[in-house]
Subunit: 334 residues, 2 copies
Amino acid sequence: MNIYDVSKKAGVSIATVSRVLNGNHNVSEKTRSKVISAMKELDYTPNIFARGLGLNTMKTIGIMCTDSSDTYLANAVYYVEQKLRSFGYDALLCCTGNDYINKKKYMSLLLSKRVDGIILIGSQFVNNSPGSDNSYIVDASSEIPIILVNGYLAGDNIYCVMCNDHDAVYNAASDMIKAGHRDFVYLYTSTSFSGMNKLRGFKDAMDEAGIHIDKDRFHLCTKSISKSNDYLSFIYEKNVPFDAILTSDDSLAVGAVKFAYKHGIKVPDELEIVGYNNSVLANCTEPELSSIDSKVEQLSSNAVDLLMEVLGGGSVSNINTVTADLIKRQTTKF
Amino acid sequence: MNIYDVSKKAGVSIATVSRVLNGNHNVSEKTRSKVISAMKELDYTPNIFARGLGLNTMKTIGIMCTDSSDTYLANAVYYVEQKLRSFGYDALLCCTGNDYINKKKYMSLLLSKRVDGIILIGSQFVNNSPGSDNSYIVDASSEIPIILVNGYLAGDNIYCVMCNDHDAVYNAASDMIKAGHRDFVYLYTSTSFSGMNKLRGFKDAMDEAGIHIDKDRFHLCTKSISKSNDYLSFIYEKNVPFDAILTSDDSLAVGAVKFAYKHGIKVPDELEIVGYNNSVLANCTEPELSSIDSKVEQLSSNAVDLLMEVLGGGSVSNINTVTADLIKRQTTKF
DNA sequence: TTGTATGCGTTATCAT
DNA sequence: ATGATAACGCATACAA
């Protein structure tokens, strides 16, 4: 069942059928309807492979994320897919995990599938420590546009959509200082661009208030409720005093709530806690978590808008920033 | 950069290049290496569209789910993608939402993209009430194999992978009865096949113990922490006594924990709670949730195995069942 | 407005 | 073991 069958049935040439198929206006109403009814009768479906071969595109975008089962990433993937679809694009999903080798492998896989662009979701794809090798991204960008959601890498055909993580943490910390706190702990899960920005936001707020932070007080920690709980218990038993906790992820903040519960510490009266990402987890604890909303939906939406603009030949700024909000619930009282 | 360029450079015919490309054995070692180095020199990448056109397949599987940001579905999507990839298949992701119209639309979209098979993740795709219209699935199955994860629909080219939800709830409820409970509440979110099986499991356990359950005691509820909390508060204030809660989803169980906290009810001493899906949420509450593990990973893995078997021409049973486990944490003491 | 002819880059069949 | 050539099904430049 192909364009030839339809043309024969309708008594026209294949060119005309193709025109009808593509909504070309140079077709008389009469022949158009003839063709359409022929297509219906034959239950014709265009062969997308043949079209792809000619046009050299399948209107497909590659999505890479380290782990689509992660709450935050899952949301981003969802929003990106929805938005892509609204532009008529398909989403080819790749969960790469965190190995450099695999990231690289999946990148070239997507390239070999001739996707029209690639969206890298999450801050885990680029390594921003000096001298690091991000060539797999730069190389790919020479062929198709690359969008980084929550990552930063300079490059001609590389576009970054990110949240102002630094300011978000800085503002939350500053508010807590204003509320009278001096004894902070900051827990974070990643040294990615985004992760370091959050940490810097924390440190900047401390510096500005003249609060010294020794290294017990900021801790790189696996993204896990129990690891966070464990670490806090550890320094608590070492008699490090603290009455304010900021985290780079809600799971760590949940761990903090559980730590407080275990030790009979009253939240928020004796200890205030702020999470990050404003995920479902924030609604699960008692008291419920105050959390920084990093605006996944807007981030995702902007990422797709940007990509579409680029694919349409528009010229776009390489950096797009979204502003985070602190959602106050019950683990804070400022 | 195509097969002709390579053939010219290597001084052979395109047929030979194609043979090398596909690992055909009828090529001498000498010419093979000539061709390979030509490919390397030209940095040749095969055009997948052309191959797709000839072979009429792109080794791609469509994944449909109502909402990939849902914790449970996100996990399933993740495992399915990983497993598909291990077989060399790509995953085209479609988040359909819950409208019949959209499900139908996305189904034909995937068909028009000529995917090799479709995996429907979640119980929301087939309506099992008598006289319901599931023709969009049946129709699709006449073209390509359809796999239902957690759904049931009879059909020639339709394969169902599911969890024995009935027994899981039945067993948990029976254990609670044995532990001395008589006053149960069951909260559920869906009347899908899976949802009804869970409900029946609950009712069967009650029937068997001669416990009468009036309609206050099983309640269809939006999948939301607060709705669950609200409903429990409502019947509590109506003086419906209960000391055991079973739910079809962890979020509802979290709501139950919050309800208990609000009313000063001790869990598990005065109230035992069991969730479903054993998701991250189960680790967030205090006390932590006992929850039925519905084995998403195994379900997902089996789904892909089944599909691969079918695509390979094997003959497979249309139904594949996985056994759930109750993971006991702190909201139960039996 | 419509038709003809060609190219897109493979794989596969048939010779040799 | 290798080569020539025909599909595969569409889009489109050019002709009419």
